[in-house]
Symmetry: C2
């Protein structure tokens, strides 16, 4: 069973963290066929942590966990921090496949999204 973990940086501002959780809930309504389990996890400043998020997915029966970095740029968090965390979780849970999806800035759809937002004002 496949799980999706939306991974955000985490903010001191509670509302930002709630937005991420709300987004993961919206995702559940749109792609539960592909991903029967969908959770959110935070790199820092909020909980659950990425590791806790992955473990929640596993405890609900996930055999594959896809981490989706909710990050725009290929900064240090995307290039180093998240892969390092995944490596250490993967060593603990060898029976579960943990993958990392491309960060959002790498998507072809980003240009359309930018243009749509720019035209809103």
């Amino acid at each position: 069973m496949k799980a999706l973990l939306l991974v955000a940086h985490g903010s001191r501002r509670k509302q930002s963290n709630s937005e991420v959780v709300t987004l993961s809930e919206k995702l559940s309504t749109k792609c539960s066929t592909d991903f029967p389990i969908i959770k959110a996890g935070f790199l820092e400043l909020s909980s659950p942590s990425i590791s806790e998020g992955v473990q929640q997915c596993i405890s609900e029966g996930a055999t594959t966990v896809v981490l989706l970095p909710y990050f725009l740029n290929s900064g240090r968090h995307v290039v180093e921090d998240i892969p390092n965390i995944v490596k250490s979780i993967q060593e603990k849970f060898t029976a579960v496949q943990i993958k990392i999806a491309p960060h959002l800035g790498a998507s072809d759809l980003m240009l359309d999204l930018l243009i749509s937002s720019a035209k809103k004002v």
Copy 2:
């Protein structure tokens, strides 16, 4: 004449900043009819600053500058920092209209983008 200023946080990692500039160049090829001038500006850690970016737009003839926050969440940068910077620039350039577009996380297209990225692995 309308200008679009893609506003990113800025990173210590040069490649992240280059990605933003590249994205602003790609935008130029896709929406130059709506926005004949398209630039990038950074909140911190890179240049041009937001203020310098707006001034570049104005010096090229912009009468309206739309700031497009390349941010996912409504964190402090989106809610306070960028509006405060805009307020102070607006006071200097009263003949130019400076607007702020919604941040990316507010877009309906974000769910489609997330699902598309998640399915890539």
